[in-house]
Symmetry: C2
Subunit: 115 residues, 2 copies
DNA sequence: CATCTATGTTGACACACATCGAACCAAGGC
DNA sequence: GCCTTGGTTCGATGTGTGTCAACATAGATG
């Protein structure tokens, strides 16, 4: 399965020019990872955890079964937004800060003055 | 001109705390609107057009049929990212800047120093 | 009114996705 | 070894979504 490797340079801001098909594909993949309420909650739980990481056991009370939680965490990981690491009994998830910055840059564009 | 207020008081930054179910629902809905490559291209085409608006005829060469373009523009409009207006023969789409800012704020969080 | 052009809508289809239970794997303690 | 706890993968199922062809609508023009 292909993962997003070089997500950092992804795309110019959405307000700069019409994205190419490839750029749009990459941008859409990042947005898609956060297009589900459960994934948004899981991601914010990890991102806001002290130290920027959290184990699955601490964030799995989001209203769905535990296999479903694992499924969504896997999707976030495949999209490059999270990384996981097993330490003994527990698996810890951490945010990948560069991807967050890339998405923010996509949206927080310096708007042209003539608008 | 309205000053900066919470036009779309969607949610706190994703890194601040675990979002509630309702907040996550709203955030996911915005991300979902941009989770398709065609919609990303259409949105960037409108956002980057001179004057911040474009008519459908100028942005409909994104590789899909015209009804599909119309379908995606409708979704972007329902999500609140675009507004449309008919002027004579053509329909013009404009970006809704407050929503863009809300999404940016969601991602561009002031990261705690200890990361 | 007739006709043409530019958009939007409808219906149908294939594919993707979210969800769950059950089975499975990995570590640690007995 | 066996058992328990934490986590992932598998299989199935219902729902959602992207796409297009066909049809409908709205203005402009003759």
């Amino acid at each position: 399965m292909l993962e997003l490797e070089a997500v950092v340079p992804c795309c110019p801001p959405l307000t700069e020019r019409t994205l190419t098909a490839e750029e749009a594909e990459r941008a859409a993949a990042m947005f898609k990872a956060l297009s589900d309420p459960v994934r948004v909650r899981l991601f914010s739980a990890v991102a806001s955890a002290p130290g920027g990481e959290a184990c699955v056991c601490d964030i799995s009370d989001v209203g769905v079964s535990q296999p479903t939680v694992s499924h969504h965490l896997k999707k976030l990981k495949e999209a490059g937004l999270l990384v996981s690491e097993r330490r003994g009994t527990w698996v810890y998830y951490r945010v990948e800060p560069s991807v967050l910055a890339a998405m923010g840059r996509l949206l927080m564009a310096p708007l042209p003055a003539d608008r």
